[in-house]
Subunit: 326 residues, 2 copies
Amino acid sequence: MKKTKHKILDMLLKHPDIHLSGQKICDVLGCSRTAVWKHIKELESEGFKIEAIQKKGYRLLSTPNELSEARILVGLKTKELGQHLIYFDSIGSTQKETQHLAEDGAPHGTLVITSHQMTGRGRLGRTWSMPKGKGIAMSLILRPKLSINRIPQLTLIAAVAVYKAITEVTGIQTDIKWPNDILVMGKKIVGILTEMQTEGTNVKAVIIGMGMNINANKNDFPEEIRHVATSLKTLTGKEHDMSLIVQTILFYFEELYLRYLEEGFSVIKWMWESHAVSIGKRINARLFNGKVLTGLAKGIDEEGALLLEDDQGSIHKIYSADIEIE
Amino acid sequence: MKKTKHKILDMLLKHPDIHLSGQKICDVLGCSRTAVWKHIKELESEGFKIEAIQKKGYRLLSTPNELSEARILVGLKTKELGQHLIYFDSIGSTQKETQHLAEDGAPHGTLVITSHQMTGRGRLGRTWSMPKGKGIAMSLILRPKLSINRIPQLTLIAAVAVYKAITEVTGIQTDIKWPNDILVMGKKIVGILTEMQTEGTNVKAVIIGMGMNINANKNDFPEEIRHVATSLKTLTGKEHDMSLIVQTILFYFEELYLRYLEEGFSVIKWMWESHAVSIGKRINARLFNGKVLTGLAKGIDEEGALLLEDDQGSIHKIYSADIEIE
């Protein structure tokens, strides 16, 4: 159920060329003119530019590039993903919050999102740093009826969805680095973290977290990570509509996810491999026992494991590692 | 670090035949006589019977059968399991609380425990009902460095530990019903629920929950579950020391767990199979797609899956099901 504010925004977005009178909005939505005025003021405070002309009414001039709950929800073209949206002005970690919500029964498709994450975390307990207001941290709950060993595939589906959304919204081509990073010119713009809650051999919930650097300037990053991290703004010289990026990721993610449930992993595997920077290259894979395997990245298998051919011609299946292209 | 109260209880337990003067206790523990007196009163209120004779001192006459935090901790013979004990007089669900604690970083061996669980849950979102003060609900955090597919084995280790502890403390022989129930004469006295938190392909935490019916009378159970549930008291006609049962379970669990990490699953598999009621019998296994498989339960495999031989002689591996002995 959308809030009145979201319905007003929806009307304004659908009529970019005419002024909508307060009375007209009242009539359609069945609320008072004071209520309309208050919601318009709220939208303005969230960065929407709205022209108000006496006796004519309201017209939307522009939407903000900043993340906006209303902007994400209005026009979100998904059935489930993100429809239960929990927006925070700031939060410690969306992933931690979402873990708790999932444990407490939050439904499939629940999305926790912020543009100000203070203590974000990445894989293996690493931190994830994000300049305030200039990036997106979000965590999505999925409740798939899949066996545990198929869950790592969802990370790869998420990577393909992010790839498609960024290309569509910004025109930038990205690379996927196994298993969970989206890179542009070798620097990370998106990290994906997939966690799971199981009971016995049943999957109760999968929580897919994404950290995205969108509108940060180079100097917004701590100096020690500038050589590995970048943002869409740094690359294109302009700011991007963060809410539209979120909408588009959710749209593609749902489309790919439903297709995957229907048809299996092979079509996703093909899409993933065709954008993966490491495939066909020599890589070093640092395993978590400290061992480093070196060889040719051949592709991924049906479970999403990375296949590495060493110099003796043996194929290794890699489930978890840090990889580096030689 | 044990509290002063626990140290006093420890002294009293170690000297059952003599009176310990307040002054002596003060000297050993370095606290005031008023503090000693207050702790003695607290122990009395928790059900410990303590004789206090002027000029002689204190002597412990008996320990309560009720669950007691002090009684569990004093004399707990484990290195890690249960040493970080979080005791609740009452709680909604120990499993849910422990999931949150694990997500927030609680260490390996953390135990959340109560004898008054109000909204306990079992497998597959079922409820777990426990008469107030007469049973034990506890949830243990393990942080094993194991691959995901080995985690179901931990349920079986827990079942063997519970089996051994109940036999040792009460003399009752129990049966294990795959995968997670402990039965006596076909009725359930303990249920085990194993849940897991993962990140990618790494196990972050395993939460093993146990619900145990110890000192309940037949009439304490809701009528609709009396035909399937029972308690140790109903079977033996007397009450049992709940804290001692917990201590003993933790002791055996740790012993078996460390042995399993060292030597692998085969010795546990053998112990498990030798107490499993279903092995060698004809069973019906209701799978979660509604399908029912009927046949002979042959045993479990190295991953802890149940092996069922159908009437055509085919072997089915069952990872999750409700089973019923024909």
